[in-house]
């Protein structure tokens, strides 16, 4: 069986349609008149909240599929060992356990989709998570996927658990709570393995953290996730600490997000000025 399956070869049925990240980011409407209104915490009292929650949870669902695929590939793609292009047996065990969790999250997500009135494949799929899981260095896979993207999942699940509590939706609340518990474990795995595998290799650690920062910035676009009231998804500081993030690291993510929010505001102001 081949090593490192390219993203285009992922198995999907006809219900799924992939849209590249670039296509979303290059949408001229992102800087348009509605963007200011889209800002702010995602709460049930917002008119568009139910559909926004459905779209967000579908995005999480396809992310769970890719996380399962990525963790499975990490078990297979590397020979077992302590070399830089290898993965220790214990890391593979962690990835196998993560596959079990992600498969359960897929099942939870399917049932949650039914509950929220979402059809599988109703929204497009962005394959960025799996692409981050194709890095040839296992440590960069763990920082890109486990620390950055599953860290984002911690923030999203915390926000959506709260959404369920406020809306009085017990199904959403408990689904988020159970998945959140696993995500904290997955991020902690990423934090632990980052430190163990780069303990004597500061250059590799630097590369891994830079890769994580790139991924974090991509998913902070427009201030989607951050400490600000304007961010739809709030940084879940306490859970991130439990998952092995230092306060400085969390502050850094908040700063990256704040910059992304300011950049988006400036872009909107430029567009408004041109329109006027």
């Amino acid at each position: 069986m081949r090593k490192t399956l390219p993203v285009d070869d992922l198995a999907r049925d006809e219900r799924f349609v992939r849209v590249p990240f670039q296509a979303r980011m290059s949408d001229p409407r992102q800087a348009g008149s509605g963007a200011n209104r889209a800002a702010g915490r995602l709460t049930p009292d917002r008119p568009e909240a139910p559909d926004a929650a459905r779209a967000l949870m579908h995005g999480i669902f396809v992310g769970e599929i890719q996380a399962l695929e990525g963790a499975g590939r990490t078990c297979w793609d590397f020979d077992t060992g302590a070399g830089r292009d290898q993965a220790p047996f214990e890391l593979k065990l962690d990835m196998a356990r993560q596959c079990w969790d992600e498969a359960r999250h897929c099942e939870i997500s399917v049932k949650l989709s039914d509950w929220m009135g979402t059809e599988i494949g109703e929204f497009s799929e962005n394959t960025f998570l799996y692409e981050a899981a194709c890095n040839p260095d296992p440590v960069l896979r763990l920082t890109g996927v486990n620390r950055a993207l599953e860290g984002l999942a911690i923030d999203v699940f915390t926000t959506m658990r709260e959404f369920g509590q406020v809306a009085g939706d017990p199904v959403l609340e408990y689904c988020e709570d159970w998945m959140l518990a696993d995500e904290v474990t997955h991020v902690k795995m990423g934090s632990d393995w980052l430190r163990r595998l780069t303990a004597t290799d500061p250059e590799r650690q630097k590369q891994a953290l830079e890769f994580q920062q790139v991924v974090d910035k991509l998913f902070s676009v427009g201030g989607f996730r951050g400490d600000d009231e304007e961010s739809p998804v709030r940084l879940a500081r306490r859970f991130r600490e439990l998952a092995g993030f230092s306060v400085d690291e969390i502050d850094e993510i908040a700063e990256v997000s704040r910059q992304a929010l300011e950049e988006a505001k400036a872009a909107r102001a430029r567009l408004a000025a041109r329109t006027a």
């Binding site: 296509a23 949408d27 992102q30 009135g117 929204f123 658990r161 406020v166």
Partner: protein, 191 residues
């Protein structure tokens, strides 16, 4: 026969075809027995958001943000199915407003989220019976978000979905009764 116009006549930020939107709206105009009504569909293409409302019942003017009729799998492309769903729902609301039983309904901008969700359920059920695809569970989820996740809310939703000739008083009473049965939400802990 009343006219159907689409504003803008051509799009620059999305890949929508105004003629196609007009064609779909014209079909709905006939299907809903509104052939004598002039209809204007205004699309706000500057936002990817999804709100849609009736700006005026006479003349009929509906305003739709581009995200509401966009294909959720193909950014910036029109979805015929979503366009029919949104325009059909709004035209039914226009038709309701033009009937005596809805004379005391507040303007769209003054509807509470619960009233808007109830009216949506009433419209979507009728569209389904006309043969259009309907995501009943999606609209039930909307309704529950506004009225509580209770058996009373589900029963009210079922009645709205199955109804063909409600008045505003009946619709708003169903919404109010469902909301009254909602369990107060609990304060959320900080994550």
């Amino acid at each position: 026969m009343g006219s159907v116009t689409v504003t803008p006549a051509s799009f620059t930020m999305v890949l929508f075809d105004a003629d196609r939107i007009r064609e779909l709206a014209t079909r709905l105009q006939a299907e809903l027995g509104m052939g004598d009504t002039d209809v204007e569909v205004v699309v706000d293409e500057a936002t990817p958001l999804t709100r849609a409302h009736v700006a005026s019942a006479d003349p009929a003017q509906v305003v739709i943000e581009s995200g509401a009729i966009e294909d959720p799998k193909r950014p910036r492309q029109l979805s015929d199915e979503r366009a029919v769903d949104v325009i059909g729902r709004l035209l039914l609301r226009v038709r309701d407003r033009r009937e005596r039983g809805f004379a005391d309904a507040p303007p769209d901008g003054e509807l509470t989220p619960a009233e808007a969700a109830a009216w949506t359920a009433y419209a979507e059920g009728r569209l389904e019976r006309l043969g259009h695809p309907a995501q009943q569970q999606r609209w039930r989820y909307h309704f529950r978000n506004r009225h509580g996740f209770t058996d009373a809310a589900d029963a009210a939703f079922d009645r709205l979905w199955a109804a063909d000739t409600l008045t505003w008083a009946e619709l708003s009473a169903l919404s109010a009764e469902a909301a009254a049965a909602a369990v107060p939400s609990r304060a959320a802990p900080v994550g």
